[in-house]
Symmetry: C2
Subunit: 438 residues, 2 copies
Amino acid sequence: MIKPQTLKGFRDFLPAAAMARERLLDIARRVYRSYGFSPIDTPALEYSEILLGKGGDESDKQLFRFRDQGDRDVAMRFDLTVPFARFAAQHLNEIGTPFKRYHLATVWRGENTQKGRYREFMQCDFDTIGTESNAADVETLLVIHDLLDAIGIERFTIRVNNRMVLNGLLETLGLTGKTVGVLRALDKLPKIGADAVVAEMTERVETTNEQARQIIALTRLSGAPDEILTTLESHLAGNERGLTGTKNLRELFAVARHVGLPPERIQLDVSIARGLDYYTGTIYETFLNDLPGIGSVCSGGRYDNLAELFTSQRLPGVGASLGLDRLLAALEELGLLPANVSTPAPVFIAQFQAERLGDYQRIARVLRAAGINAEVFPEAKPVGKQLKYADRKGFRIAVIAGETEFANGNWQVKVLATGQQETVSDADLASRIQALLS
Amino acid sequence: MIKPQTLKGFRDFLPAAAMARERLLDIARRVYRSYGFSPIDTPALEYSEILLGKGGDESDKQLFRFRDQGDRDVAMRFDLTVPFARFAAQHLNEIGTPFKRYHLATVWRGENTQKGRYREFMQCDFDTIGTESNAADVETLLVIHDLLDAIGIERFTIRVNNRMVLNGLLETLGLTGKTVGVLRALDKLPKIGADAVVAEMTERVETTNEQARQIIALTRLSGAPDEILTTLESHLAGNERGLTGTKNLRELFAVARHVGLPPERIQLDVSIARGLDYYTGTIYETFLNDLPGIGSVCSGGRYDNLAELFTSQRLPGVGASLGLDRLLAALEELGLLPANVSTPAPVFIAQFQAERLGDYQRIARVLRAAGINAEVFPEAKPVGKQLKYADRKGFRIAVIAGETEFANGNWQVKVLATGQQETVSDADLASRIQALLS
């Protein structure tokens, strides 16, 4: 006999967890589609040369890479951005630009599993490529907002910044050439505090103490976005790139206000740089106010050229990615997942008389036609045992009928949480259950 | 520069194809859930010993198998049944029985790609395990029916049989011990005809000519299920297993009639055996009447023990699997896929004045709140160019506003297929577009 086990870093999804994940995926799909993003899919396996060197040394080491039956050097995708770059270059004539796509799919990384990280997880990306218009950046913000809102999270904050503003400030402070080091240090501000960041900047990046203090002060500006932007603009006077950044941010906040997003959900945070050298314009990070420690659950930004390694055509774009697993963990911690429900059906139909299977399935179909999911128990076991099963799975209502009910054309309807029971006629069953469920 | 290409046997899904597939997955999910099947998921990678030897030599050769970073012998799943067996054995205490699950996921097989077969494809399985009750077999039929019906296929036939009946007939004909050979030959009946099957049986399986003719005559019985069953029962007199099979089939057809399934969609076909030795009771195959040549699009059956290689607990069950890719190809051939639509949004909002982005996004949100997907074009290009984009993507309605419309608080609404255009007030836009779309 073979021991049934999963690989280290891999996991099964049992019904309750799988349903929670399906719900999030469904919402993501619905919100992305509502903005006109189209789905695409790419293979789990790619030629290794497509994936290698795209995420740094660490990423290369983490690749699940092997030789296939045809001795091809292949690897499993470690993210959805690199396959999208390959896809965009390969199908550019068919897809045209601008092109808006979403991609919900599994990726694999042979990571150290110590920190509760998994080697298999899902990403939920959306991107608009082939346009430099700030309208796409603004829309990305709206999508992130609507996504979190649709998931049912009340208190969240999308922090927005623009790399052009950051770079402009660095230029005006005479820190050009030290950008990467300064941004890397700045990224640690919330974790290690201002003094440690100053120390890192002066020691490792060789800024002056004054330069370090100034850039930290500027990136720590807080308050209404328009006020912060006015302060930044006075510092950026004459710096064209920086002023394009503030102009784009002004438009973003103006549209967010105009369409009615709650202002407390959108903040300008000049300190965020998102480590990567990849982003060149707007940057987004999203935090749950009640659980900021888990980090950003939806991040992204604008980049200059998606597919430069695969095509000579320039493909600028902007997008973001929902961290599905992190968000699921957060929802669980916040008590926003239904506990102990492992069935997608609220209604349980007990099987009392085996020879009446046709009637049980008939009434189940009446409920299904009314949009109510209903399960018929497969065996005519004692009803007590069947109700125990129903309780354990989290059904909300049990429907029961024996000889008397069949003779009178009605059903016993039992609300499982309260034990409350009533007799309902066959014709009224769907509407009564709908009322009980709502 | 790296050549952007996919591996042999692998493919990208562009928006139109990805949307068609998402629609089928969504329907499968909805129908499975409506019967109380819960989702589960398992990893793409398993220890190789879990997967090896479960699908025969051919399947072993087709495994994408390699050593991971921890030198573990791992492989990508080639179906969803073997991982489900491992899953059921591993989590039996948590899931309990009966257990109803569905699993929609990707599998990989390094197959010969000549016949338009792919090395990566999706399976959509549903199963009820932990019960021998025929009620689960009956329900499996109902699920298959509702699935095809929900997909929008009018003319399909589910062919049902029961291995106990077939085995019983073989016993009464004195063919016990030759079952596998006879069934394998019978399976070819529709392809090679009766004479060739008789030849194969007499030559390879060493039946008599009379035995071969008799079993073929019995398996070719046609007509109303109850009449066929009566004939079979007279042949099976005294054969308990065979008569259990006919009794189960009687109940299946009785319930199907009772709940109102169109009788022409459900046929008793005593000839189908589904090759595999795996099935032990009811068997299902589903054919599209207008495209029978593509083979069964939804097949399955009852089996005795799902997880015998992983646990000593017996887990009988019944289930079926929707052949997603085959069905997609069929829908395309039957013209049942919307042609040339690569957007999930019916409404296109042109960007006429860049400084009005807030108003374009505001009206888009009004439409989205009314359940209408709407895309705002990201650039204020000439409207003609924008409408060309909208046409190419398959949008149905364009919404346009410039200075005059903003001054008057209204919008130009253009039906793209007809060119018909009208002026609609801001307040009426959602309801007017809803009317135009329906």
